[in-house]
């Protein structure tokens, strides 16, 4: 699936998008896999309460299932308007 990062999550991880092969069942499982990769991932995902997640462009919580998802995005709380 495609994993996207925005705002300071993107800056901390160092790129806006990557292809991830995973069997993670939920967003939280995917986060664990990413955290285990490198320090910059661990830093970006250190505090999940500071993060939001979208699965296939819909806001979800971290327990959302990933079955069939094509695109997961991580970002801080939004500040539009």
């Amino acid at each position: 699936m495609d994993v996207l990062y925005f705002a300071w999550v993107r800056e901390r991880i160092g790129h806006p998008k990557e292809r991830v092969e995973t069997r993670a069942a939920t967003v939280r499982d995917l986060v664990e896999e990413l955290r285990a990769r490198e320090d910059r991932y661990a830093a970006a995902f250190a505090d999940l309460s500071a993060l939001r997640v979208a699965v296939d462009q819909e806001l979800r919580d971290f327990d959302a299932p990933l079955g069939g998802a094509r695109e997961v995005a991580f970002f801080p709380p939004m500040t539009g308007g």
Binding site: W8, Q57, A73, F75, P77, M78, T79, G80, G81
Partner: protein, 146 residues
């Protein structure tokens, strides 16, 4: 329903006039416009990042919800991204209704949801450095009233 996400500046007056002119039978038009503030007096620029694809979907969803909840004849949401300067217009919403309460409430609802549920992020570039604008608790709290 008119939803636009764009890098280019927009003309509030031209948008407001066009929106008001295309309302048939609506007695009330409300607009809200957001403007870049230079809080510390040293803002070089504001950069607005967004999530192309999701942004448009989220805004359309919010607009549809507003049209379901209130008697509004039309909704406009226009939001810029990219690099802006102090006093630039960031975004606007417009609503039209028969009676003023619907247009006001729908516009406030659009703004509350747009603030916290549409994927935009603001970064301030000042002489002292750069930083992402933090979400305000009041903005999250504002959603509870709807």
């Amino acid at each position: 329903m008119d939803i636009r996400v764009q890098e280019a500046p927009f003309d509030l007056g031209a948008e407001a006039n066009a929106f008001a002119a295309r309302q048939a039978g609506m007695g009330a038009v409300v607009t809200f416009t957001g403007i870049v503030r230079d809080l510390g007096g040293d803002l070089d620029a504001m950069e607005i990042e967004h999530y192309p694809g999701m942004t448009e979907k989220a805004l359309a969803g919010i607009a549809e919800e507003a049209m379901r909840r209130w008697q509004v004849g039309d909704v406009l949401i226009l939001h810029r991204h990219g690099r802006l300067c102090a006093d630039d217009l960031i975004m606007m919403v417009a609503t039209a209704s028969r009676h003023r309460a619907d247009a006001f409430q729908a516009a406030e609802f659009l703004m509350d949801y747009l603030k916290s549920r549409a994927p935009f992020w603001k970064k301030e570039l000042t002489q002292a450095g750069e930083g992402w604008v933090a979400a305000r608790d009041e903005d999250e709290d504002a959603l509870r009233r709807w």
